[in-house]
Amino acid sequence: MGVTCVCQVPVSEGKSVQQTVDILHKKLEQLGAVKQGNFWVDCETYHATGNATGQPSKLLYVMHNSETPLSCMALFEGGPGLSADANFDVLMVKLKSHFQNAKGHKVESRGVRYRYCDFLVKIGTVAMSSSARGISVEVEYCACVIPGDCWNLMKEFMQSFLGSNTPELPTVFTSKAEGLSVPVDCMDTMSQYLELFGRVRKQQVLPGSGVR
């Protein structure tokens, strides 16, 4: 569990999602990275039914990550979150009458996992209702747990294969009250994925058609 950075890579001009993903794979393999299995991250949306006050109910997101297959993370956008064991899904089924699962809103990212020295790079195709909507790239530097310490190092690494698409320091870390020298935990990674999935959902237009 090291410092992670999740970013979205726009689809290259005139190419499809799959082709852009293949280009990224090639760049990584040229650097010397080694394929190490697959990964998936998914996110289900629940909204409260029967809200008495009439305000729009908050959305509860329940996420799973293949890095921690026995856990399940529940979080609110910009709000509190928790990690629990797999029985939390069973509990959500029991809560069916109070929380409805918006099945059409399920977003997931699946792809290949690469290992380069102490880095883990996961390049995934973000899909909603089985249509590819974008590309997510997660870079994890496993040796360090303090984001403030190793951000420059990670940026240098990301520039070597993402070029101009390299992101800035994720807001998850900058918005923490205690600052950048607090050790990371799995909720930081999932918050970043949640932000990315949120952006992908809002994107009405499928990438590749070139119209925004």
């Binding site: 569990m1 090291g2 010397g32 380069y116 020295c117 102490d118 880095f119 496993c142 040796a143 360090c144 747990v145 303090i146 310490d149 190793c150 420059n152 190092l153 240098e156 690494f157 020298s181 050790p183």
Partner: protein
């Protein structure tokens, strides 16, 4: 440097005591023989009984006399000297087959030789130190106090002294904490936590550093049975490299007469890793080389270099 076993045994009393044991044995045998033989043939029953009883009493009294004699002699015999030069291995000398397995005499020879070697090496090092071959007169870290000559045998130091030295070094730097454990006998095992970057386990032998292993801050330092794991390597290549460099540092910082100066120098060097992920390499200016941060720290200047960038 004589290693002759001091014979505190009074040999004459020893031989007299052995004779006394033989006398005691024979008088006890006489008692049981007379009991076995029973009463001798005499005219009257009282006569027979009387003779038997007097004979029995005489025998018992002789046993009593012999026992007292033996006790008196045993106090005179004395005890062999407590200070075996080789402690339990002195018991090897009890092996009677001397020519087939001359273990004990060879052991004594080897021990005498190594003691002489240590003595001569100490003399030589004090002479050589007067002619310093290094360019800088000071050792690494000006905090190293010049101590007067420490006790000649720095291999056997009292535990309390080692504890004191380590706790003083632990207070030197605020971002480095040192915990001392003794899981296996008298050798100390230190757990050095450097900020939130790394944890190093340093195995000592009295005040000399034997080996060290460096792992990441979030890695598990305990083995399955709850004890400190001093063998498994780190999971990350960066820390595996740092462990190799630390082992090189142990070989570099050497000073047999002043082991506490060595420990201080090593800790000062280790502390420079607090910015392992933050400092770029001084030579190439980049953070990463083949995926590794600059893991080498120069022994004199403590500057960061990549392993492949150092001169």
């Amino acid at each position: 440097m004589a290693d002759v076993m001091n014979v505190g045994v009074n040999l004459e009393a020893f031989s007299l005591a052995i004779n006394a044991i033989q006398a005691l044995r024979s008088s006890v045998t006489r008692v049981f023989d007379s009991l076995k033989d029973g009463m001798k043939n005499k005219e009257t029953l009282e006569g027979r009984e009387k003779v038997f009883i007097t004979e029995f009493q005489d025998n018992l009294q002789s046993v009593n006399r012999d026992l007292n004699e033996l006790e008196r002699l045993s106090t005179l015999v004395g005890r062999p000297s407590e200070s075996h030069p080789l402690h339990n291995s002195g018991l090897l000398s009890l092996d009677p087959v001397q020519d087939k397995t001359p273990l004990y005499s060879q052991l004594l020879q080897a021990y005498k030789w190594s003691n002489k070697l240590q003595y001569h090496a100490g003399l030589a090092s004090s002479l050589l130190n007067q002619q310093s071959l290094k360019r800088s007169a000071n050792q690494m870290g000006t905090s190293a106090k010049r101590r007067p000559k420490v006790q000649p045998s720095t291999l056997v130091l009292p535990i309390q002294y080692v504890d004191d030295v380590i706790s003083r070094i632990g207070r030197m730097f605020p971002d480095m904490s040192i915990e001392l454990f003794r899981p296996n006998g008298t050798s100390a095992v230190l757990l050095v936590t450097l900020g939130k970057v790394l944890k190093a386990i340093v195995v000592m032998r009295s005040l000399f550093i034997d080996r060290t292993i460096v792992r990441g801050f979030h890695e598990n330092i305990y083995s399955e049975d709850g004890k400190l794991d001093i063998w498994s390597k780190s999971n990350y290549q960066a820390f595996q490299k740092v462990t190799d460099h630390a082992t090189t540092a142990l070989l570099h910082y050497q000073l047999p007469q002043m082991p506490d100066v060595v420990v201080r120098s090593f800790m000062t060097w280790l502390r420079s890793y607090i910015k392992l992920f933050q400092n770029p390499c001084q030579r190439c200016g980049k953070f990463l080389q083949e995926g590794l941060p600059p893991t080498w720290r120069d022994f004199r200047t403590l500057e960061a270099f990549h392993d492949t960038c150092r001169q």
